[in-house]
Symmetry: C5
Subunit: 322 residues, 5 copies
Amino acid sequence: MQLSIIGYDPAGAWHRFASTVEELLANKNPAGITWIDVEGLESSDVIHRFAEEYRIHPLTVEDILDTGQRPKVEEFDDYLFIVVKAVNPADELDFEQISLVITENAVITFQEKTGDFFDGIRKRILNNAGRIRRAGTGYLAYSIIDAVVDEYFVILDRMGDTIESFEDRAIDESDDSFIRDIQTVKQNLLRIRRIIWPLRESVNILLRLESKLINKDLEPFFKDLYDNIMQAVETVESYRELIAGEMEVNLSAVSNRMNKVMKVLTIISTIFIPLTFIVGVYGMNFAFMPELGMRYAYPVTWGIMICIAIGMIIFFKTRKWL
Amino acid sequence: MQLSIIGYDPAGAWHRFASTVEELLANKNPAGITWIDVEGLESSDVIHRFAEEYRIHPLTVEDILDTGQRPKVEEFDDYLFIVVKAVNPADELDFEQISLVITENAVITFQEKTGDFFDGIRKRILNNAGRIRRAGTGYLAYSIIDAVVDEYFVILDRMGDTIESFEDRAIDESDDSFIRDIQTVKQNLLRIRRIIWPLRESVNILLRLESKLINKDLEPFFKDLYDNIMQAVETVESYRELIAGEMEVNLSAVSNRMNKVMKVLTIISTIFIPLTFIVGVYGMNFAFMPELGMRYAYPVTWGIMICIAIGMIIFFKTRKWL
Amino acid sequence: MQLSIIGYDPAGAWHRFASTVEELLANKNPAGITWIDVEGLESSDVIHRFAEEYRIHPLTVEDILDTGQRPKVEEFDDYLFIVVKAVNPADELDFEQISLVITENAVITFQEKTGDFFDGIRKRILNNAGRIRRAGTGYLAYSIIDAVVDEYFVILDRMGDTIESFEDRAIDESDDSFIRDIQTVKQNLLRIRRIIWPLRESVNILLRLESKLINKDLEPFFKDLYDNIMQAVETVESYRELIAGEMEVNLSAVSNRMNKVMKVLTIISTIFIPLTFIVGVYGMNFAFMPELGMRYAYPVTWGIMICIAIGMIIFFKTRKWL
Amino acid sequence: MQLSIIGYDPAGAWHRFASTVEELLANKNPAGITWIDVEGLESSDVIHRFAEEYRIHPLTVEDILDTGQRPKVEEFDDYLFIVVKAVNPADELDFEQISLVITENAVITFQEKTGDFFDGIRKRILNNAGRIRRAGTGYLAYSIIDAVVDEYFVILDRMGDTIESFEDRAIDESDDSFIRDIQTVKQNLLRIRRIIWPLRESVNILLRLESKLINKDLEPFFKDLYDNIMQAVETVESYRELIAGEMEVNLSAVSNRMNKVMKVLTIISTIFIPLTFIVGVYGMNFAFMPELGMRYAYPVTWGIMICIAIGMIIFFKTRKWL
Amino acid sequence: MQLSIIGYDPAGAWHRFASTVEELLANKNPAGITWIDVEGLESSDVIHRFAEEYRIHPLTVEDILDTGQRPKVEEFDDYLFIVVKAVNPADELDFEQISLVITENAVITFQEKTGDFFDGIRKRILNNAGRIRRAGTGYLAYSIIDAVVDEYFVILDRMGDTIESFEDRAIDESDDSFIRDIQTVKQNLLRIRRIIWPLRESVNILLRLESKLINKDLEPFFKDLYDNIMQAVETVESYRELIAGEMEVNLSAVSNRMNKVMKVLTIISTIFIPLTFIVGVYGMNFAFMPELGMRYAYPVTWGIMICIAIGMIIFFKTRKWL
């Protein structure tokens, strides 16, 4: 569990780490804005201590500690509570819950796991880049959610590459591993969709919320965020359609290959079966078989068999089966 | 049929069982809140007696007795009527209808079957844990519905395990039992969905209801309940998608296995069919067959046959059929 | 065509049949409520006579006579016009249009065919059972629609039995008759759905209608009716899903059975084809075949052939094809 | 291009043809209602001349001339503009665009092609049948759209017959022509749906429009029209479902027939393959084959072969493959 | 990067190219309307310079530079910001982002790539054709979007031709290339749909926007634009349905052809297999086989074999397998 605090106002900014909540709260920025970041949720005591300090509702505390929440926005008297799901840029699709408590002069972020992608925001605060130091807690919240959404695109790009590789595999492979890989990507897309859709809805709620924390000036930013999320949603949908297409291609390719094998092979069998019958006839041991003694019976038989074979090939050709 | 009554106010609480309705009603808590619990609906007289006492509409009584109701909320002048469906934690998916009549100072629960999962609530009342004794009948109703919803997750977790076991079976099995099991789980998911969706709608109605029973303070709790139900809904949907995926995998696996069997076997047949024709030719009994008398005809024939076999294998290899 | 009239008020009730409209109208109940029932629409004169008497709009008359109407509710200045579709409890799915014209003190029902299931309502009126005599024409209309909806469940139960019987047939049959029967039930479900959905909508309109005919007191009854219809809708939907499931099971079962047949048979062929080739080799009539003269050539050949057969069986076993 | 004009008021009505616009406009009915009918859109000059006379917006003129419009309703200051698509009762599905410009005392209809089905309306005007002469231009517009919708049912009935004929073909045929015919009907249904849905929407707009042209008295008529369109929509939907069902039946029938052929034939092969092996064995020419010289070897061999054949048939029977 | 400026008012119009922003801005039309066109987004400095001049929000600048935007409309205090996606009439489906900033007396268009299809609009301005010179910036914006939408139909027509060519290929081909081509068109349709749907929504927003830039007079034009977009949407949908139909036809055709091949070939095999067995029997070398010595055994055997063959053909015919 790691505690850190950033204080800033238009005039200045500082960043400190703390080992206890008391130490952290002693550092609160009285005039400007305070951003407290809690990484790791192992100690519920710490969270309860914050809850007490910032008068956080018991249900909010429960939601922070239960990492199985859906992304959501809840408005309380003193604060705004936002839950988002971040994706970690690991190989396996791995979600992390990030809860934001936004008051008028403080933002507290509770991260499920240590390690995050907020260093860019911290630098912008410390270096006074852009408008962040001059804007309020609403803008900080926007920046944090924006950073989370940006990470979605990293994951989606990687999935896009995997899906592109399916294009060749769909034609060549007829293995269970292909369908298994397809299913894995499909399930991952569904899992991502399940965190993006409610986030979209949440940002929409923020846009319509008449809260003093999200004021009129911030509207274009949240609208922009909303557009970004819509873009992610559409990417997921187009990936799903691409995958469905690849499955159709694979199904068709497997069936076409099988059909070709079966057709050529069956045709070979069919040509030889009548011929084998004919040679069987003259392999019979009847005492009285006039053909057996004839002078040119053998070459004539060969001739007949060649004619039958050619006839069948021509028949297959006219029927376009060959 | 089992009747019990709990009376409580912030100062104290008691729990009693009764054998008749009169005995029960004699125990009503005049000042605080009364929770009457009726388990088993065998005796409609008992329910009519309650209806009389609490001025319950005849249609509500009908709904309590008819256990085929959909989850719903109905607001009457004197009371709020809620129907929920509980799932029993048995092996077979088994629903139980629980009807709640909520007045200003009493909650009456009618359970279809004896045995429930409300012991936790009873203990919290008797031990004065949390806010339950201080809160009104609305909070008690919330606690009861919450306990019902919690039980859904127990069942859903168990179904999740079953679905996970399908992952291996989808590749290995090509039996009717697999598709039968898949269908059973699918039907159960549909049955659960059919009770969760209207419950979600009902809680939504409760949230928008301007009733003095569900006041502003309770809103976060019912919102939380709503979130829980949404989580259950999403779990059901994701299970349905997982199952659909497993069916696709199974279809593909069965077809791939069949294709492999057919391909190898057909190839074997195809190699031997022309060879069998050749040996048939020299099994003919024609008097005049020059090859038969030749010195090296036999080994030459073998050579030709081996060449044909190798040629065909190479042909199959180049076509990637082998 | 059969005409009957029921007159009632809280104090009394009577039921009479009539052969002409004039006779019928002479019997109108001046003080209380009159229920005129017209069975059979053969004579449009009769309907026009009623239209004149009760100032019914020409378009309403058209709708009454055209039995291809969808269930609907229409509010006119003087009356409420409701069209419902009843199902007759025959073996074949057979619909009957019932049109209701509801004025302040009269209900006129026009039934497409003679024979109905309203005897229960008539008895309740004549025996003064329940609230029917004390309530207005709105309650009578509710009772009639309720009786129609109850009949839906009779039909749905019967369909449920048919669908249950599909469960075994799905595994065992691979006949066109199975798929035909499935389609028939599916079409019937669609036909029922097509009459229930607009009825649901109609009752919803009735609930929101601010008409003096459907007053506040009747609201719980129409809500209850709405719930019943929703139940029917859900039953139809769940039947559709059950049928879709059975079709999947059938598809899978047919394909599995075919696969089994093909696999075992192909394996038998494959084992014998190389063996047949070998015996063919030693059936050749070449003059110089050293093996033919060897002492133990025959048993050795047998040995080789048995080895090949066993080898192939082992190969199939390791590949799990057997 | 054909120009005609009808003038009517409650007192009288007349119908005239004209060769030029000027001649037509000279005939305008000053007091009553004028219906100008333009068949054929070859001469845009004519349409521009009307546009000038009736102050029609340039975009409306464009819409009249572009026959690729979707059915729509547009309200302008002076007039109401309605576009509908009529179906011609030819064998091929063939649409015709009909544009209506409705002012307070004139209706102008622009038909894409000559020939229409409005003779009934013209007769009703000239013969003073029904209310048409007493009603305003709104009622005339209703009558025209109603005639267009009636024609849809003629086409739908014909399609219904075609779909019915699929019922037998689905079982018997396994030809590409069947699937082709199915697709043609499917596409036609989609094309019809694409003109009915926006028409439904348009009539809905007309119903809600607060225009003096469509007054309260006309509401039941437009509601009735709306119901008719809904009926057409539902017919299309039910046809689509019927077709989907027939495709399933066909798929299943083709696969069942193929399975039967394959099964019986494969079984025959399988029985004879081991027998052919046995007779091959005793066709070998080894010098030392003790069985060859035995007295009853031949009948014993026959006995063994018959036993094998019977054994296999029994095996197939127990497995229900036969 | 190419900069051009058009200035116009009802009295006159001029068109100039510029190499720098300053040169361009020096040419602004003080009285009338200015249309600045920026082709190519390579130099963000240029865009920032315009942003400064016209007080464009930083987020708008970001959106102009990021060519991965969805079509959208955003209203700012001083201007309206519209993003549309144009399709380039190349062989490959290729999108270009066009951003419009519309102020009261200027329109600035930012095009992703050089080359456009706005020459028609420029000519209409310079030649004073139609109402364009008399109308405001809203009409110019309408003209630009209309030109973009018109280009969609060029692309859609070309796709329509491709889809038509599928009609024959669906029956004849059973190649992976067919399914690949189908998928390509499908994906392209999805990509087009993804830019048309939000455009439809955007135009809808413009219609409901109470902005002084889009006044009441322009409403019919934007409604017309909306209708055009709806037409494009419907064309895309109908193409998707056509493609789905062709895939079904192809699936059915491939399977029918395969079935025919298999059936005829299997029947040939089945007829000869029993016959081959018979001739095998009389090829056996048993010493004691009475038939071998009989006088007419050979022709009798032929007779039996011919009977068997004819019998099987008759059997197949009665079963309709042939």
